[in-house]
Symmetry: C2
Amino acid sequence: MTHIVIRVVNIFFNHCVTCYTEEGAIDSSIRDISKATGLSIATISRYINDSGYVSSESAEVIKKAIKELDYVPNENARAVFKNSSNLIGIVVSSLSNPFFAEMTMHLEEKAQERGYGVILFTTNDDIDKEREAIRLLKGYRVKGIITTRTQLKSEMSKLKTPIVSFETEVNDKIITVAADNFKGGQLALKHLLERGCKKILHIRGPKSFEAAELRYLGFKDEAKRQNVNFDIVQFDSDFHVAYNLEENIGDKDITEYDGIFVFNDIAAVLILRYLLKRGVNIPKETKVIGFDNSYIGGLSYPSLTTIEQSVDGIASKCINLLLDLVEGKNIKEKRFYDPVKLIQREST
Amino acid sequence: MTHIVIRVVNIFFNHCVTCYTEEGAIDSSIRDISKATGLSIATISRYINDSGYVSSESAEVIKKAIKELDYVPNENARAVFKNSSNLIGIVVSSLSNPFFAEMTMHLEEKAQERGYGVILFTTNDDIDKEREAIRLLKGYRVKGIITTRTQLKSEMSKLKTPIVSFETEVNDKIITVAADNFKGGQLALKHLLERGCKKILHIRGPKSFEAAELRYLGFKDEAKRQNVNFDIVQFDSDFHVAYNLEENIGDKDITEYDGIFVFNDIAAVLILRYLLKRGVNIPKETKVIGFDNSYIGGLSYPSLTTIEQSVDGIASKCINLLLDLVEGKNIKEKRFYDPVKLIQREST
DNA sequence: TTGTACGCGTTATCAT
DNA sequence: ATGATAACGCGTACAA
């Protein structure tokens, strides 16, 4: 009888993790590993960080104990010690915009590949939320921050944390990564002309959206060069306002145009829908071109011709630049414009 | 002359933050505030955490110093002390799926409202990435975790951290929040019948996608009850595979059906495009209904009829339940099924 | 190769 | 009302 009991206990201690931990909800620490193995804390630390000699026998024992106790190093303690966490902050306006959703996803993937975690903040372009996000990121002592369409130019300038800004040019010191929006605007106009459009409209984004402004400027520049005119309808939001807009778009009848360049894909799909609903044949009567090449352009019918900015490439560039900064590299170049290209689909 | 110099110096010390901090890249700590104010660390701590007496004069001085030194409490140190960070972990398969993008956004917003930050991991349904995500979240001592479509049932069961699982039922102990998918499937069938459909098809999601299976089961259940038959085409992915699928969908000619229920919106929009491209008149010849009510359904033409699961409501429920768990509340109910409802649009 | 002792920024306890 | 100090878990000199 006694024998049996003893055996049970042994099985417990050899194979069952919970017997050590289930009484308290507290995670095991490096000290627990030390006690369990009979080795010193320093040795365990060296093993974990691969930062010094530890005999292969000890290594075996430690490895086993870590598994048994389900030990994971406390990143917070590490961060306190180093005065810097292993996290980077991503501040993004909204994940409802598929481009930003994809962007965020890629950023997270790349960061993970390079061994960093990601703290996410969405701001809905609310400046107070953005301010709060920055404050908290400071609190977490993140290694770096990636912002998109930031509205906090002055606060950003004061920050000591490395920053890479997507789309917005904060100041001369802070690195900006963006698609070559100006060039994209030019391409869009050229394409519409090539497709034979005569009466051209540009759906222009909100003024605070710098990238959209550059697209507009490129479009205008090329129009001047080609000596053609175009009308403009201004959107106040890239998404939310537009979404409920079933009745009228601006003060113009947009069905009268035969070529429309829209400042981004989501708005473009909306325009597509607007025109189709009014019986306009696309691309026969009206040709529509967007900007982004986000996946929704491939889902609509007709599918959307667009100017591609490579999310993947841009995300990589952002992360790589940021982590180079983090690692102390001095980067002279402060502006990176990712090439754009025309993706022709069914809408032109 | 001297006077002027002195004044300049004073202005510096009164108003310029950088003069204190620009020499070192190290953030100011509670000790710096202590030194700057001449008060003890303990007093500063009490002020910050509102956890004890501090005279109104001291409070004033501290407040000013915090602003001047741009002090933000070190969350990592707090986390070490409390053995728990102020973060929650969100593990999501992909932000390319607009439903998850919206879900993530809402989760982040709600978490922020309740004073928590968010660490994001995307897994692309890769089980190893998910495992790694969980490991790291343990390392950060997050307060709680929200998973979606988890594939790590056994690992989750071992975890001591509070978990709320979206869609997947992990075990009897772990709370699951999901839309009432079964009911949604029933509603979809009823609706197609009401709209007069005779030859019905179901596009079924990947088997590992539990929620989609429930939608299918509900659909089947209602069909049996109504004594109607339907065919099935199975998708292996909810998005990526389908995305490139321009040629054939399954082994059936789906243009022959007059009513199609698709397991989610993104796949439904794809089906819509497929049919439209082949000249099918929607909804006249074929009616299509999706599931999710994600925003893309409102962008397509014709817009998509769908079964709504309220992202907002579900996100709230997830966060609230999780934080209740975190705060030690004992929640007996382990399954929460959010009501679904039909959103009729143009595709039926 | 291993162990001891200290510092990181907080918070909490206890004394003043 | 305020201050001194121990403790949290980790990493690293430095001593053994």
